[in-house]
Amino acid sequence: MSKPEKIDLCKQHKDEYVTPTKPVLIEAKPAPYLAIEGMGEPGGEVFQDRIGALYSMAFTIKMTRKFEGRQDYAVGKLEAQWWAEGGPDDFSKTPKSQWRWKLLIRTPEFITQADLDKAVAALTKKGKSPTVKQVRLETIAEGRCVQMLHVGPYDREGETVAQMLAFAEKQGLKCHGLHHEIYLSDPRRVPPERLKTILRLPVTKS
């Protein structure tokens, strides 16, 4: 079911999507994403509604282009940036219902706003929720980042983040951007202790 000429961003940018289970420094080049923002508990109603909108847009754009005979590509993995009002240390103090996030799917450079508009029109015509209009095309430039593969339940990311922060400090670096996660496993099918998630923290010289 696959064709060799297909573009797969995860494979093209192995340095950003293949990460060991110990902290490393990487350079995340500016890249376009489909993005949608929200606030609320991960897995909660709002969250699920936004994920639905993001995936609907990602696949409608892809299939519409494919149908028109334009360059095909693999839809990327789900990623997300997370923040709490009080900064990175504030997650544990902030109730999950107040967590803010931006859900992302990396997208090839040739996707334009016109592709998004067309997909919104198609989805709206089929009666999909108006949330799809909130999906934007956004370039994210993180630059130098500390990155590490977290294996295990999402609730235990704190331990991995602690290792990453210790590593950054040793290098004379400090965090200066949003906590970024790349979901490599499907939580519906993979047991929590085997979930693989790449954690990324943009850093700068302190």
């Binding site: 696959s2 797969d8 409608t60 892809k62 299939m63 929720s129």
Partner: protein
């Protein structure tokens, strides 16, 4: 569930083997052979292959060659006639087949001072002039036992596009389904993609293989153009996981229908198998693909032992 014993499976397959021996010169449609021992015609060929260790065609061809070898030794009939009796239209094609199996030509074999040679086959079934007694040892593949789970499934409503043709060309059919499904917001994390396999590629000619590319939908979806809606039957299923490329699914099917079911004595229901694709072939290397295979079983809870 109380599975019928593996013993009964063997006895039934034995009936098929005797039936074949007694009718070596007749056309034997698979459906007829399946009926002889009440096997589901859907899955009969895989059961046969699994238990006997060769395809039905290969089995019949070999028995005819063994009979031809006997005739070469015991009669003075011309080779061309023996070839014809074995089902070959030309001397050359017979010679080629004979040499492939016995490693010498029919005329060399006739001249050689050698008794009837028999290449061993795993099932132990050889041509038997009487046609009634057949020794039979069900073929057993070595290695780790298969991991199979028995599951009770509810009926599943799916939207589908029918593919007719070789399995390796289903990608285009999937694209048509995906093009329909995407703007309806159906392609989501957790969406269920299934393949309903109506035909066994070892039995049905490539260009006639029917396969439905399916995505699970709720009651609100109605048939739309080339996209149909159907319900996949619920009930008892044996489920095993295939790891690796789709091109090797056939091997796992064969092991499930032909080895696991007969050895465990599970009766396969006369309904199509289906596959659930657990990852995206567009962004996954073939070696890393994971597919669950569902094989329908008779539910013994409703049958008196």
């Amino acid at each position: 569930m109380k599975p019928v014993t593996a013993q009964i499976y063997e006895e039934r397959m034995l009936r098929v083997l005797v039936h074949i021996q007694q009718r070596l010169d007749e056309e034997m449609p698979l459906a007829e052979l399946a009926r002889v021992a009440y096997f589901s015609p859907y899955h009969f060929h895989r059961i046969f292959r699994g238990m006997v260790g060769e395809s039905v065609k290969g089995h019949i061809r070999r028995l005819r060659l063994e009979r031809a070898a006997m005739h070469l030794k015991q009669t003075r009939r011309p080779v061309t006639r023996i070839a014809f009796e074995a089902g070959y239209e030309t001397h050359e094609s017979f010679t080629r087949a004979f040499r492939d199996w016995f490693s010498m030509s029919p005329s060399q074999f006739r001249k050689a001072h050698r008794s009837l040679l028999r290449k061993r086959v795993p099932s132990g079934v050889h041509f038997n002039p009487g046609g009634t007694r057949v020794a039979f040892h069900p073929f057993r593949k070595g290695g780790e036992p298969m991991k199979v789970e028995i599951k009770e499934m509810r009926p599943m409503r799916v939207a589908f596009v029918r593919h007719v043709g070789p399995y390796d060309e289903v990608a285009a059919t999937w694209e048509r389904l995906m093009t329909w499904a995407a703007p309806r917001g159906l392609i989501q994390p957790g969406a269920m993609f299934l393949g309903l396999c109506h035909d066994d590629p070892e039995v049905t000619p490539q260009e006639k293989i029917r396969y439905d590319a399916c995505i699970a939908v709720d009651e609100s979806f109605q048939p739309n153009g080339e996209v149909g809606v159907q319900e996949i039957a619920g009930g008892t299923y044996a489920v095993t996981t295939h790891f690796g490329p789709y091109s090797k699914l056939g091997e796992t099917y064969a092991a499930l229908c032909g080895q696991w079911a007969p050895q465990g004595g599970y009766e396969i229901r006369s309904a199509p198998c289906f596959e659930i694709y657990l990852n995206d072939p567009n962004s996954t290397d073939p070696e890393d693909l994971v597919t669950d295979i569902y094989m329908p079983l008779e539910d013994y809870r409703h049958v008196k032992a």
